[in-house]
Amino acid sequence: MKNRQPLSLHIPTPSTRPGDRPDFSHIAIPPAGSTRQPDVLTPGCEMRDMPFGLVRVLDEAGDAVGPWNPRLDPETLQRGLRAMMLTRNFDSRMFQAHRQGKTSFYMTSTGEEALGAAPSMVLEPDDMCFPTYRIVSYLMARDYPLLDMVNQIYSNADDPLKGRQLPVLYSARKYGFYSLSGNLGTRFAHAVGWAMASAYKNDSKIAIAYIGEGTTAEGDFHEALTFANVFRAPVILCITNNQWAISSFQGIAGGEATTFAARALGYGLPGLRVDGNDFLAVHAATQWAAERARSNGGATVIEFVTYRAGGHSTSDDPTRYRPADEAAHWPLGDPIERLKQHLIGLGEWSEERHQALDAELKQAVRTAAKQGEAIGTLGQSKPSPAEMFTDVYKTPDWRILEQRQELGY
């Protein structure tokens, strides 16, 4: 072919790097209340605009506005606030504990506390959450014992997971919280299978699953959406778009060309794009998707637009790849601060009550941490090494019995 022009390889690059002024102008943020709310049983093909809106309830003044306002009572809002504040307090204590050498690893969810807290309050005790490592607020909203968490993080003698898992990779069946793993994405379609099972049994339970925007690039994501579509599984599939995947910005995951909520369109599923730092919006969107699922309407994809305010994990230093003050410029603010202001605006909260609650939670976390430390931190205490050999199979075979004996347990 004559005169073909040379091609060039496009490498997505974030708008800013360390030293630059933070810039979030690429994120489309329509005003609160401006995105429509379709009926929950609207066919997918009539909601193709939804991935390009942004479900927001709290406006700049802190008032709840628009069709998605879930009209929650103050007590519910206060419970949500509490769960988010507990999460943040716990994170900060455990982050410190890692810095003090008490464990090998920790991950915070600072700025993303609404994403687990609100759905946890929407879903029923017998529903199942298939979380990521940043959805601990789901457990916090259900009063999972802090001490059990601390023991898991310290892998000590009382660790409910028997010393087998990295910190924060919880499992809490009784709280409707599925076993976490370090492999990204692999549980996303488990949620679909679990939901299919509920439908198969003509039960009424539904599932909610989370995946990071970075992880949507895995084949697992596509498999989950494919099965959810084909078998109309009663499941809520949430993408937590916190702008970063360790050091790579959301453009590397495909966010330059369209929204992550738009992934839903290829499967004929509804795709909601939601302000993830707006507790009310998160609650309302989850409620909508839950109702759709419970009415046999099948799956919903939700993109929560949020920001990972901290480092990826205790192993990470985000100032190496993004402006140090980027978090402060995040246009959707802080979910705790916004819900607090809303409650104050309603006359149902005050700075004083806020501070009192914060102190109470700090104390609760402190107590649990101390109790956990008394049992032992990583290396100081651990379950019996015999636990290394149990639960590989329901009943161990000769290999496991011999090896356990060889180790002397």
């Binding site: 793993s181 692999t186 949620a191 679909v192 299978g193 099972a197 329901k394």
Partner: protein, 338 residues
């Protein structure tokens, strides 16, 4: 009792379990209305209903992942992967999820799933319809791997697999689906009806996982085999007249080490046979264990007869397939020693 082929026997196991337990369901590519490309699930959808036996998208990863989710819910899913070659897109799900769920959750969740898949060569399937990937499963703690060699075992082992609360890979030697095949490809095909183990009870019974079968007693040499290769080993023993004890492992995890060790300590010689390529194949583990446990009894090196360390090539089916003559040669080497 009914005379059954492997296919009928496996179909019967599924039917029996679906009838007994409403939590058993069957799915995979083309398994629903059509009844599977090898007809193993024929009639199940019609009999038990379309939600109990259905087609899935072509997505092995999705099939296994949703099966794991169903298992966590409390069902006992039986997933078919159309050919063992195509399990690999689901390999991460099997290794990182199914095999570890019980362990990592401290026993809160587990994965009572069964993954059925036709495997092995002998059908001119070329390199993408002939795989024998058992070593890839055997190395993964948390998985069990079962390989029947005849209709009776196939049904009893499959029922045991479905009732098992751990994930089981159930590998079906497709070359012997419709009749035993001993590697003598020039000879007329024989039918299961003439084989004693084609007499299969109609109802529920179990062949326990982890119990090998001594399919031929002998004093001079032990041959370890599974799947199609059990028949090849039998043909090799018959043809050569060697006084071989032939052990059908039936499941490679859990492995019936006692039966193996007892036999080799008696015969003092051992040949390991499988279709999979040799290097780092499951035969290596058998060699390692036998030399470890029977070292002072062995009189000759343990021989391996396996697929070559190449892909499985279409035109060279019978050059690749480890048939009786190669087993005989190995037995002779082992009997001779040095």
């Amino acid at each position: 009792m009914t005379t059954m082929t492997m296919i009928r026997a496996i179909n019967s196991a599924l039917d029996v379990m679906m009838s007994r337990d409403p939590d058993v369901l069957v799915f995979g590519e083309d398994v629903g209305y059509f009844g599977g490309v090898f007809r193993v699930t024929e009639g199940l959808a019609a009999k038990h209903g379309p939600t109990r036996c259905f087609d899935t998208p072509i997505s092995e990863g999705g099939i296994i992942a949703t099966a794991i989710g169903m298992g966590a819910y409390g069902l006992r899913p039986v997933a078919e992967i159309q050919f063992a070659d195509y399990i690999l897109p689901a390999y991460d799900q099997l290794v990182s999820e199914a095999a570890r769920l019980r362990y990592r959750s401290g026993g809160e969740f587990w994965s009572p799933i069964t993954v059925r898949s036709p495997y092995g060569g002998g059908i001119f399937g070329g390199q993408t319809h002939s795989a024998s990937p058992e070593a890839l499963f055997a190395h993964v703690c948390g998985l069990k791997t079962v390989i029947p060699s005849n209709p009776y075992d196939a049904k009893g082992l499959l029922i045991a697999a479905i009732e098992d609360d751990d994930p089981v890979i159930f590998m079906e030697p497709k070359r012997i689906y419709n009749g035993p095949f001993d590697g003598r490809f020039e000879q007329p095909v024989s039918a299961w009806a003439r084989h004693p183990s084609s007499e299969v009870p109609d109802g529920h019974y179990v062949v326990p996982l982890g119990k090998a079968a001594i399919v031929r007693g002998g004093e001079a040499i032990t041959v370890l085999a599974y799947g199609t290769m059990v028949h090849v080993a039998l043909a090799a023993a018959a043809e050569s007249g060697a006084d071989a004890e032939i052990i059908d492992l039936r499941s490679i995890v859990p492995l019936d080490l006692d039966t193996i060790v007892e036999s080799v300590r008696k015969t003092r010689r051992c040949v390991v046979v499988h279709e999979a390529s040799r290097f780092a194949g499951f035969g290596a583990e058998l060699c390692a264990l036998v030399q470890e446990r029977c070292f002072y009894h062995l009189e000759a090196p343990i021989e391996r007869v396996c697929g070559w360390d190449t892909p499985y090539p279409h035109a060279f089916e019978w050059d690749y397939f480890p048939g009786p003559s190669r087993v005989i040669a190995a037995m002779q080497r082992a009997l001779r020693g040095l």
